[in-house]
Structure formats: structure tokens, C-alpha cells
Symmetry: C3
Subunit: 343 residues, 3 copies
């Protein structure tokens, strides 16, 4: 019996199956420090325990996307090792904060299957839940990937396409326990713009750019224990470059969005996301945002903003799709998410 795992293929998934992912992980101040070294992260609530306390939390939680990457990383060996493409995300919700000392685990349920017409691959939908050591859910999201079949003649499963929301409603969002922005310090946070200052349809060019290096994205991707080979093995492509983990682009763009969205402190919902084009070492990542929706919340002084966050490696800000409706070649990421801001 082979001791190593070659990953699952399309015919290995069964509708309703629950996969318990391996390798629990405890986080500490080390992960927080590394997150700040890898990305130009400046949102005050994740940077400062004192600022977080002044907002009603017990301290600064781990960055929301770091929590996402940690949970996502656990799923890679079971879900996407043989994936041809990472097709989408939906119904992502941060359900609780991750604190230093917490240990995360993850499970995924197969909620959809559809063999492709070519018979050589298929689409797998999973709903993944990350939990802490108390069994409390901290994150859940749906993701679908195209996975190769091991054997072309393996029978196709019944097609089941899950019914997913285009976007979470504001009522679906879970607010961090105790969150209170009534005494929010805009000076310490870095910008004066409050929830009421953002208009529907408003677009913000985040101006700054960061050129990425091989060493950096590999450090990040390993930190999340993401094992996908394309990110690490230079012999897989003729040009010796490694494909940069899409989550690295998400975190870079989110951090760059500080300039213009410094008060968008907490990410609570992921409505959709597309990794439009591959990112490679040497690319200079820039970002722009668009306000898609606004909502009040039940937490004191807290509003929710639904944003589009687009990461690019060139081109003009606000360019997204060509005349054919396809993403322009310089677009890396198109993300649709909910954040919490002071009113």
C-alpha cells in the first residue's frame, strides 16, 4: 500500500460526505507578526490589543483572512490537490474570532457534484467549517473547484448543483460578540471616513502597489499549511515560476485597501470571489474597491459595507472586464465581501 497520498480525484467524492481535514493548528503572536511582515496590514483592530479592547473585544483577533487561509489550507490535501481550477466562493461567514492560543480544525461537506461534458473532470462543491478547540465554529464558506478524474471511464455521479446565495444579506452576518464602535478613535485608526461617508457605487483607487517575490508567497503559503505543489515547485513550469496562492493576492489587496478603507475593520462575509488571472513573482499588485451595498447592524455604532475588491497587476484602476465580458488580463482578483465599519 502506497504510504503517500496523491490526493482525491473527482470520482472519490460522494454527495453528503463529510471530510475531516488533518493537522490542527495552534496560533500565537507569531502568526500575527508574520501576517504584518507578509502584508502591509494596518487595520488598527488587528494591529493593537488596546484598540480592539476599546471596541469591546478582549484583544486583537487574528486577521480575518489569516483565519480564512488557515482553514482553507487544511482543505487543500483533500479538496484541491488535483484541482484544475478554483472556481468560486459563496456564503462565507466569519462566525467567531480567532485568539492567540486557539487551535483550529476544519471539516468539509460535499454539497454538489457535476461531471464535465468531456468526462475527464468534474466540479465539486464543498461547505467548509473551521472550528476552534472549544468546537465553536469560527468560519464557514462554500467553495467549488474543478477536479480531474483518475479514470475517464469512472461513472458520473448524479448532478447536484447547490442552491447558493448570490450574496449574503446583512441579516446573515454574525457580529463579533461585544463589538461596539461608539467610542471609535478615527485618529488612531488612520482615516476620518465613517460608514456614512461611503456612497453606493463609490469607487476607490487604493493607489499603492507592492511587487511580490517568490520567497514571500512561499513563506505565506507554507504558514497556512497549504500544500498545493504549484506554489512551491519551480520544476512544474518551464519558466521556473511558481503560481502564487490566490489567498496571498487576497491578503495583499485587502491590506492595500487600508488606504481609503482604513476603518473597514472586520471582514464578516464573503459573497463571491474569482481568481481572474494567475499571479507570479515580479508582478506589482494594486487594488481598487467599489461600494456594492450598505446596511446597518444591531451592534452599537457598527455599520456594514458590501465591497468589491479588485486586485490588478497593471492596467488602469476600475477596469475589470473587456467587451467580451471576460476579465481583463491584468485583473488578478474580483472579491465580493462584507466588512464592519464605524457609523
Amino acid at each position: 500500500m502506497a504510504k503517500t497520498s496523491a490526493g482525491r480525484f473527482f470520482e472519490d467524492y460522494t454527495l453528503g460526505e463529510v471530510i475531516e481535514h488533518a493537522v490542527p493548528r495552534t496560533v500565537s503572536g507569531g502568526e500575527r507578526a508574520l501576517y504584518h511582515a507578509l502584508y502591509p496590514a494596518r487595520h488598527a483592530l488587528h494591529s493593537s490589543d488596546e484598540f480592539a479592547r476599546a471596541c469591546g473585544l478582549p484583544g486583537a483577533p487574528l486577521d480575518d483572512w489569516a483565519a480564512f487561509h488557515l482553514v482553507f489550507g487544511k482543505t487543500v490535501p483533500d479538496i484541491s490537490l488535483n484541482a484544475v481550477a478554483n472556481l468560486g466562493y459563496a456564503e462565507g461567514r466569519w462566525l467567531g474570532q480567532v485568539w492567540p492560543g486557539d487551535t483550529l480544525t476544519a471539516i468539509s461537506e460535499v454539497i454538489g457534484l457535476k461531471q464535465n461534458s468531456n468526462g475527464r473532470s468534474g466540479v465539486v462543491w464543498v461547505r467548509t467549517t473551521g472550528r476552534n478547540q472549544h468546537g465553536e465554529p469560527v468560519l464557514e464558506y462554500v467553495r467549488w473547484v474543478m477536479v480531474r478524474k483518475r479514470a475517464a471511464d469512472a461513472p458520473a455521479p448524479d448532478t447536484v448543483i447547490p442552491d447558493l446565495k448570490d450574496a449574503l444579506a446583512a441579516e446573515d452576518l454574525v457580529l463579533p460578540e461585544g463589538l461596539d464602535f461608539t467610542h471609535y478613535d478615527f485618529t488612531l485608526a488612520g482615516e476620518p471616513h465613517r460608514w456614512g461617508d461611503y456612497a453606493l457605487g463609490e469607487r476607490i483607487d487604493h493607489v499603492d502597489g507592492v511587487s511580490v517575490e517568490e520567497a514571500e508567497h512561499m513563506l505565506a503559503t507554507r504558514l497556512w499549511q497549504n500544500t498545493a505543489r504549484v506554489h512551491f515547485d519551480a520544476t512544474l513550469r518551464e519558466d521556473g515560476r511558481r503560481l502564487i496562492y490566490g489567498g496571498h493576492v487576497i491578503s495583499m489587496a485587502r491590506a492595500l485597501s487600508f488606504n481609503g478603507l482604513a476603518n473597514a475593520q472586520i471582514v464578516v462575509g464573503l459573497n463571491a470571489g474569482a481568481h481572474a488571472n494567475p499571479c507570479f513573482s515580479g508582478d506589482t499588485i494594486r487594488a481598487w474597491s467599489e461600494v456594492l451595498d450598505k446596511a446597518e447592524t444591531a451592534a452599537p455604532g457598527v455599520g456594514a459595507l458590501r465591497l468589491r475588491l479588485v486586485a490588478t497587476k497593471g492596467g488602469a484602476p476600475f477596469d475589470l472586464r473587456g467587451e467580451d465580458g471576460k476579465y481583463l488580463p491584468d485583473v488578478l482578483l474580483d472579491l465580493d465581501y462584507w466588512v464592519l465599519m464605524p457609523l
Copy 2:
């Protein structure tokens, strides 16, 4: 109203104005570990809690230059985003140690202004103070930068050039509370040379060299939340290289100075500093030191040494200026600072 900040220009500064800088930051063992990964730091008092306790401290404080970079980083968006040049430092004093769990904030007061004769830029002097979560000052220093004007026809302010000390006197230095080198362990510290072994005018070639990479200086500069674009965006220069943050050179040179100054444990004063030439990825940084002054202190067993620390990217050790009085092209840094050593 534009949501993003383009930074301040010369005419945006007013004498006496106090700027409260954004983004407080909590540090932990993560920042300490990263400091040791980024620089060949070996000074025992910052490496070992036990060694620090044997010297009368409650544990190992964050490296003095890490504390400096963290405070400095906060000032960048308000002070030097449109700076043409970082001209100098003076009257820098470490006033307290930074411990794991501490949260730092920073404010700057504008203490000098002078428009350049070309009318297109001016010099701004600020005195910056870093504080911990108890409001206790941990660091203060004066820094002056040349800043572009937004509008050439903006009126020039009255010229005020602050009266700054050429160097701090030994009496100006603040000794860490409890510091006691009477039972100092020279073997664990790595060298037998005590304060009395260093002679005025003595020069030390620190021998070792470290070649620097893009990924490393960007990790470091982000860790301090320094947002200056020239350090991150490869599209700003034709050669695709990024200008390395001067503080990265300071920390690299300070760490290299361990070889010959292993007992120069604590930095307490910054008298002056010049970033003589730019540093780029691929450069190999070396360092040499010169003893500028010596003083006894009130703390048991503790002496103070005033040192010149020069970082180079080539050339012979001890070469500093050409016949024209200007820094030689291989000189990166000329720093004048006070350290504490066992008597």
C-alpha cells in the same frame, strides 16, 4: 472627497503643530523572532529572558532598533510620504523598554520649518515621541526631512531652525530601570571586552558581511508598518529595484557590530545619523565602528560608549569621506549613538 491620502506636502505643516500618528501596534514574541530572522542579531540581553533577568530587567525587551522602527513607521504616512530625502536625526533617546504585550503609539511635534531657495520644497523638523499603553514614553527623537511642496506658489513659512544638540551628553541618557551589570556573564554574552577595554578613537572592523534580498527588506519594512512606496513598488524605478529602508541598514549594521561589540547591549541614545547612499537588493552590507566618547553612569557596573557605526556596501573599512568631504559612494550609513556596556 478623495478617500485615500496622498500624504502631506511642505505647506501642510505648521510650527508647533502636534500630529497624532495612526495605527497603534501590539508586539509579542513574534516580533522578536522575526527580528532574529531578519538580522544576525545576537546581543544576549535581547536574545535571552534569563540573561536580561540576570542584568536586573524583568525579561528581554524588544530590540531597541525594533522599537525605533515601529515608532518611525507610524510617522511615515504623515511625515515622509512625499519626502525627497531623510536628512538627519538628533536627540534620540530610548526612555523605556518595550515588553511583549505592549502597544505603541506615536506623536510628532513640528519644531522647525525652512523653505528651500528653489521654492519647490522645504525642510520639516519633527520631534517624535513613542509611548506604550500606559502613556509612558519609550522613545523620542528629532528627525528632519526634505518635503515637496504641492503648489510652488504656496507662501513660505517663517524660517525656524531648531537648536539641536550635536550629541547627547551622558547625563541626558535614560538608564533602564533596574539595570545592573555587576554580575554580567561575559562568556554567555560572547566576548570578554568590557567598557574599560575600549579606547577613545579605537576603530573596529566588524568583518562579516550580509548580502540583502528584496524579500527580506520588504518583510522588515512591512513589519514596522512603514508605508513608503519606494520600498515596495518595483515600477517606480526603471531597474525594478526597490530602495531599501534606511532602518533596515541600521539594524543590519548594528547586528553585524556584535563581532567586536558583543557587550554593547543596550542602545540608549541617537546623536546623529546619515543615510549616505541608497542601498539595494544584492548589496553586501558590512560595518565598522569608532569609539567617539566614553562615560560612566549611575547604574551599577554600567558604562556608556558613544560609537560611530558605519555601514558600507564595498570599499575598505574605515574609509568614510572623499577629499571633497563627501561620503564615499560605498558608504550607506553613518550613525552616531550611545550604548550601555558592562564596566
Copy 3:
């Protein structure tokens, strides 16, 4: 008197001499996070405090090889700064775990000396012991290096070659206090293969590869405070490349061996090790293992496996030596060690 150290030469060592190495080091969650960023480390017992507790330990200890590198790093300035070659390891035993907050020190005893016939260098054998702040040993190992002589005419010492074991016996291994694999969770650990599933002589290709970058190995080598210049100074070789610290290859190969040896949780013995060929930035490291021996232990549910771990930068898996008996040029590392696994 020169303040800097040029390191010791062969004639500076005396049989029986004990060298107390400098720079104690305190570790925290920062070192753990960095270890996970530098290597694709996934062994659950080092990744998760909860998993470690379920195995009878008080929490997740620092990775065994991180502890090794930290102790090894301390010895470099005294043992291998003028080493021509790192010739071998023997009788390495992990004697205790390293916990966050622990401070490590190291001493070495010179146990063997043999001048080479050319009279220009010699071999030095040392037995190094790492201890925590309580004086408890956490690691010991024998290492021998070829060191240059300062003066060719320095008299040769009496030749003493220590009597070293080819391999530790299972009875020599020290089991972590409290270790109990009776309730081991194979799902969370990532693989179903238990001690009984591994056969003597079985060989495992670990499949995955990681291409290494200059920035990464320098970060790692500095983290262990290893000061050997060849790892940092690009001016020492014509091609500008830096020789990668052999310990970086060990940790990379060990982490890669997760795929097939996910349950080989704790390294307890180092029987032998050869850095067969140099590793440089750009190399893609792969690994394979061979089961050399098996033994039961006194700890509940815990078996011991003696493994050969080979790291390569090319070539076919399981190729090791050429017809001449020498290591093939693509072999980087040949390591012989003991690990603990669930029965």
C-alpha cells in the same frame, strides 16, 4: 588586542576542553510560527497544542529540528567558523522538549582530535549538549568537522578518535515524559499508517518538491543565530550564490517527509548524517525515506522507527550512491535518525 573573533583554528582545541558557547536564546510562539513559514511542516504534535495534549504532553513543543538548529547555531562561532567541511554526526539524542518561554544554552566538549596528513588542517570531534534554563539537558550530539590550522608548523596533537556508536540502540532513546499514543487521532494527524504498517527496508518517495530561495535560507539560518559567513555573504563565491546551511535541508526534507510519514511525530535520535553535496538557491529539494530498523518502546502505544532520510535536488528517487560508492551529485543529505510513532 583585536576585538573581533576570527574563530578557532585546529591548534586551538585541546582534548577534554569544555567550551561554553555564547548567546542564550529564549523561544516563543514566534519561532514556531516562523518554522511553519520556512518549512512545509505539518506534523500535528508540533502544530497543535491540543493534539500534543491528547498525546500526554503539556502542549506542542518546539519542532525537534528547530531545537537542534538553535543549539547547533550556538556552536558555530567556536567550532565551525574555520571549518572546511562538516564531516558527520553521531549519538544525537533529544533528551527533553523545548517549550515556549524556555531559554537554551549550549556547551561542547572536545572528544577527539586528528591532524590531517597534509599538516594544514585536522579533524575535531565535539560532544555538544543543549540545556534549558533549569539546567536540564534537551539535546546532545557528537559532530566532527575539518578545521584549518592557523600555522602549518603548529605541533600536531596526539591523535584521539572517539569510539562512537554506528547507531543508537532503541534502549538509548529518551522518551518525552508523559507521551502516550493510546488515544492517537490518525484522522487529525493526516495519515492512517501506524508503526506496524512500516516494514524493514520499505522505501517511500515523498513526492513533493520545494524550490528554495536566498531570502528563505538566510532568514532560517539567522533565526538559529548561525554565523557561518558562507550562508550570507554573496561576495565569497564568484557566482554570488550562498551555500545553504545543511540544517535548512534537513528541516525541508523532514517536513516533506510528512507525505508518507505523517505519524512519525517526534525525532528522538540522530545516528548519522552526511551533507553529501552543497545546496544552492534555485535547487528544488525532494526527499525519500527508507525504514532501517523498528523497535517497541516503554511508552504506551509508542513505537520507534529508524529511518534514512535522503534529500535530493534531482535524479530518481532511491538513487543514492554511484558505482564508485560515492554519493551521486544530486544527493544533498543522507540522514539516519529515530522517530516515535503510534503503534
